[in-house]
Amino acid sequence: MSTEIKSTELKTDEMIINMGPQHPATHGVLRMLLTLDGEFVKHAEPVIGHLHRAQEWQGQNRTWFQYQALIDRVDYLSGMFTSWAMARSCEVLDECEVPERAEYLRVMVSEMNRISSHLLWLGTYLIDLGAMFGFPFYPFREREKLLDLFEEIAGQRMMFNYIRIGGVQRAPNDAWLKRLKAFTEEFEDRVDEYEAIVTENPIFLKRTKEIGILPLSLAKQYGVTGPSIRASGTDMDLRKTKPYSVYPKLEFDVHWLDKPEGGDTWDRYILRIREMRESNKIIKQCLDMLPTEGELSGKKQNAGLRVKAGEAFSSVESPRGILGCYVISDGKDKAIRFRWRNPSFCNLSVLSELLVGSPIADIMAIFGSVDVILPDVDR
C-alpha cells in the first residue's frame, strides 16, 4: 500500500475541501480545512469556534448557584464531570467537607456517566466507520438505561445539575439502587457482545490498525489526555496518579498500553472498552460501600450560596481526559474568573498533526478515535 504519492511522478492538482461544519461526520460543528492531494491529506486545519457560548464569561456573570446548573452543558455527554470539577475547585476554596455518602454518590454517578459517554462514543465511532444500521443501536440501548437512571436521580437525562458545591443534590432510593445493580450485572455481557461484533472484525481491524499513530512525545506536546494518551504509553490517570474523592478506597485498574512508538486508533478503541468494564467494577463496589445514612451536602444549597475568597484549581479525570477548573472568588455571590481546561480542546488540536498523510476515509476514523465533543472545545 503506497500512501505517498510524489508530485514529481504524477501531475495532480491539490484540492481544498471544507469538511464541515455541516458535514455529517464532524460530530457537531467542527470545520476542517483540508488540503488534499488526490485522496491524501497534505494539510489539515481544524477551525473551531462555531459553538462558542462564552461559558467562562457566563460563570463570571451568574451566581455560584446558577452556574452549577449551566456547567453541565460544557461537555454535554459527561456533565457530571464538569459539575464535579467546578464543585471540587470551589470546595478547595471554601475548605468545605464533603460527606462520605456524597462522595460515593459522586463516584457512582460519574462512573455511570463515563460509561454512558463511552457508549455514545462507541456507537458514533462505528457510524463513522460505516456500520450505520445495526451495531450503533446496541450501545445506545445500554446508554438509554443509564439515562433513565440519571433522569430519576437528577431530573434530566443529560443536563444533570446533580453534583453541587459541597455535595450532591439528591439521594437515590432503594428501587434505583436495585436497578443500577441489575444494570451492572448485565453490562459485562453486553460489552462482550460489542466485542464479538467489533473488536476482532477484520474490516474494523483494517480500518483502525496502523493509522493515526500518536507518539507519546507528540501527545505530551499537545496536552492530550485521557484514553488517547494512555494508548500512547503512559498510565496517566488522575484517579490513580493524583487520587481524589473516594477513589483510593476502591479497587480498579488503569488500563494503558506500553507502546513507545505510539498507539493507533484501535488501541484507543480497546482502552475505552476496557475502561467501561473498569467503571462497571467501580460502580459495583460503590453500590456495596455506599453508606445508607448520612448528609448529602456539606453546604446549604440555596440561592445565597457563597464561596470564600481566593483562587483554586482542581481537576478530575473525565472520559476524554483531564478536565480542570480554575476559579478566583472574592467571597461575593459571583466568581471573578472561571477558566476551564478542557480535554477535548487539546485532543482536537493534535489532529492537525495526526491527519497529515492519511486518506480522506481515515480522517473520520482518526478524528472519531480521539473522542472530541465540540461544545467542550469551544466552551
Binding site: M1, M15, I17, H23, P24, A25, E39, L126, I127, D128, L129, G130, A131, M132, F133, G134, F135, F137, Y138, R141, I197, N201, I203, F204, K206, R207, P359, I360, A361, D362, I363, M364
Partner: protein
C-alpha cells in the same frame, strides 16, 4: 423470545408477496394469454372466431411479446418498494426495535408514503450543474436493472410459454452487460452535480465497479464453464433434481451420488450394477470422487466470491464507498432530491433483487425444489397434487391460468432470493465499511487471484468428473 415481531415480519412478507405476485400474474395472464386468445377466438367457452384477420393476429402477437417487459416494468419497482420495507423491518429486528409500522397494515404502505412524500418535494438542480446529465443519470441508473433482468424471466418461471420469448442464447452475458451500465450513470451523476463530494463518489463508484466486476464475471464465467452454456434457462434446466444437483454444490459434480443414492440406500430394489453407472459419472473412480469434492469446495467459494462482487457492484455495505456518509456526505446522490433521489433509492434495491436473482439462477438451482428427487418421489404428494390438479383443471388446461410447475418455480425463487436479500441485510447490520484503498487491495490482490485460481482448478477438476450427467 421475540415471536411477535418475527411473526409480523413473516406475515407481512407472505401477504405482500402473494398479493403482488398474484396481481402481476393476473395482469400478465390477462394481457398475454386471455386477450390474445379472445381476439383470435381461441379462448374456450367464449366467442369462437374461425379465421382471424392478420391485423388481429399481429395485435395478439404484439401483446404476447410485450407481456414480459410490461411485467418487469410493473413488478420490479413494486417489489423494490417492499424490499425497502423488508430491509427496514429486518434491521429493526436485529437492532431490537420495531421498525416502521404505522402506515397501512403493519407499515405496509410506508415506502409508498415515502415515495409520495419524495414526489411532492422540490426537485432541486444545483447551480452550475449540467441539468441534462443531472436528469439523465437516475434514468440510466434505473433502466438497466429492469431490462437487464429480462433473460432471467424465463429462467425463474420454469420456461413458461409466455416468457420464453424473452430468453436469449447469450443470457448471462446480456445480464452482465446490462449490469455494467449503471456505473456510467453514477459517474454522470457525480460529475453533473457540480459538487466535489459527488464527484469523488462517482469516481469511486467507477473504480470500484470496474475492479469488482472482474471477480464477479470470473465466478459466473466459471459456472458457465461447468454448465457449458450461457443460456440461463439451460443452466436452470441442468440443475433440476434437488440440492445435490445445484451449481453451488459442485455444479452437478454430485449428481452421480445423487442418482445412485437410492440404490445404495436400498430404496430401489433392482439388481442393478451401480459400479458401472458410477463409472459413467466418475470415469476414474477415486480421483474423480476427490475431484467432485474439490469442485464442491470451489463452487461454494465461487458463490461467496459472487456475493462479494455483487455487494460491491451494487454499493452495499461493506462496499458502499460511493455514498459513504461519514466521508462523502452521500456521494454521488448528495445533490439529488425529490423524485430523482427516489429513483436512485429504488434502483439500489432493484439491483439487489436482480443480483440475488442471478445468484439464485446461477448457483441455487433457480426455481428448483431443494429436496432430491428420490426423496420427493417417496413423499405421499401424488394424491394431493392429483386432487388439486383435477380441481383446478379448468384453470390449468382450458384457461391456462395456472401452470403448477411455474407456480412452484416462482415460489422457490422467491424463497431463495429473499434469503439472499436477508443475508445482505444481516451483513449490512453488522459490518463497517472498507476504506477505498483497502477495497481496491481486497479486490485486486485477493478476490481476482482467488477467482483465477478457482477458474483453473475448476477447469482441471471438471475433466475428471461428468457434471450434470
Amino acid at each position: 423470545m421475540n415471536a411477535a415481531e418475527i411473526y409480523k415480519l413473516s406475515r407481512l412478507a407472505i401477504f405482500w408477496l402473494s398479493v403482488t405476485f398474484g396481481a402481476v400474474w393476473v395482469a400478465c395472464w390477462g394481457v398475454g394469454v386471455f386477450i390474445p386468445s379472445l381476439i383470435t377466438g381461441k379462448m374456450p367457452f367464449l366467442l369462437q372466431v374461425d379465421n382471424p384477420s392478420t391485423t388481429v393476429v399481429f395485435i395478439a402477437d404484439l401483446l404476447r411479446s410485450l407481456t414480459p417487459i410490461l411485467s418487469l416494468l410493473v413488478f420490479i419497482p413494486i417489489n423494490a418498494m417492499f424490499m425497502v420495507l423488508f430491509e427496514r423491518r429486518s434491521l429493526a429486528l436485529f437492532t431490537v426495535r420495531m421498525g416502521p409500522n404505522r402506515h397501512g397494515f403493519d407499515g405496509l404502505a410506508q415506502t409508498a408514503a415515502d415515495a409520495v412524500k419524495l414526489l411532492f418535494k422540490e426537485d432541486i438542480t444545483p447551480r452550475g450543474a449540467d441539468a441534462f446529465m443531472f436528469t439523465l443519470a437516475p434514468i440510466i441508473f434505473f433502466a438497466p436493472s429492469i431490462f437487464g433482468a429480462l433473460p432471467l424471466l424465463a429462467a425463474v418461471t420454469n420456461n413458461h410459454d409466455l416468457f420464453k420469448v424473452a430468453n436469449l442464447p447469450t443470457g448471462i452475458f446480456y445480464i452482465l452487460a446490462a449490469a455494467s451500465i449503471p456505473v456510467v450513470a453514477l459517474v454522470m451523476a457525480g460529475w453533473a452535480s457540480n459538487n466535489k463530494y459527488s464527484l469523488v463518489g462517482g469516481l469511486r463508484s467507477a473504480a470500484q465497479a470496474i475492479s469488482y466486476e472482474i471477480p464477479l464475471v470470473l465466478s459466473l464465467v466459471t459456472m458457465c464453464l461447468l454448465a457449458g452454456t450461457l443460456d440461463v434457462v439451460e443452466i436452470v434446466e441442468q440443475q433440476k433434481g434437488g440440492i445435490l444437483n445445484w451449481n453451488i454444490l459442485g455444479g452437478g459434480a454430485l449428481s452421480g451420488y445423487d442418482k445412485l443414492a437410492p440404490y445404495w440406500l436400498n430404496l430401489v430394489d433392482t439388481s442393478f450394477d451401480t459400479s458401472a453407472m458410477f463409472g459413467q459419472f466418475y470415469p476414474v473412480p477415486w480421483l474423480s470422487s476427490i475431484m467432485a469434492f474439490v469442485l464442491v469446495i470451489c463452487t461454494v467459494l465461487l458463490f461467496g466470491l459472487y456475493l462479494t462482487g455483487a455487494c460491491a457492484e451494487i454499493n452495499r455495505i461493506p462496499f458502499d464507498l460511493p455514498e459513504a456518509e461519514s466521508e462523502l456526505v452521500s456521494g454521488y446522490n448528495t445533490e439529488y432530491s425529490g423524485i430523482k433521489f427516489a429513483i436512485f433509492f429504488l434502483a439500489e434495491f432493484t439491483n439487489l433483487f436482480v443480483v440475488s436473482s442471478i445468484a439464485t439462477v446461477m448457483f441455487l438451482g433457480g426455481g428448483d425444489n431443494p429436496i432430491p428427487k428420490w426423496i420427493l418421489d417417496r413423499l405421499p404428494l401424488e394424491p394431493i397434487s392429483n386432487a388439486l390438479g383435477s380441481l383446478l383443471s379448468p384453470l390449468i388446461k382450458d384457461l391456462m391460468f395456472i401452470d403448477p410447475a411455474t407456480f412452484w418455480a416462482a415460489f422457490w425463487v422467491i424463497v431463495k432470493v429473499y434469503s439472499i436479500v436477508f443475508f445482505a441485510i444481516l451483513v449490512r447490520g453488522t459490518l463497517p465499511r472498507f476504506r477505498i484503498d483497502q477495497l481496491m487491495d481486497f479486490g485486486w490482490k485477493r478476490l481476482i487471484p482467488l477467482a483465477l485460481i478457482l477458474f483453473v482448478v475448476v477447469v482441471f477438476a471438471r475433466t475428471w468428473v461428468v457434471c450434470h450427467g
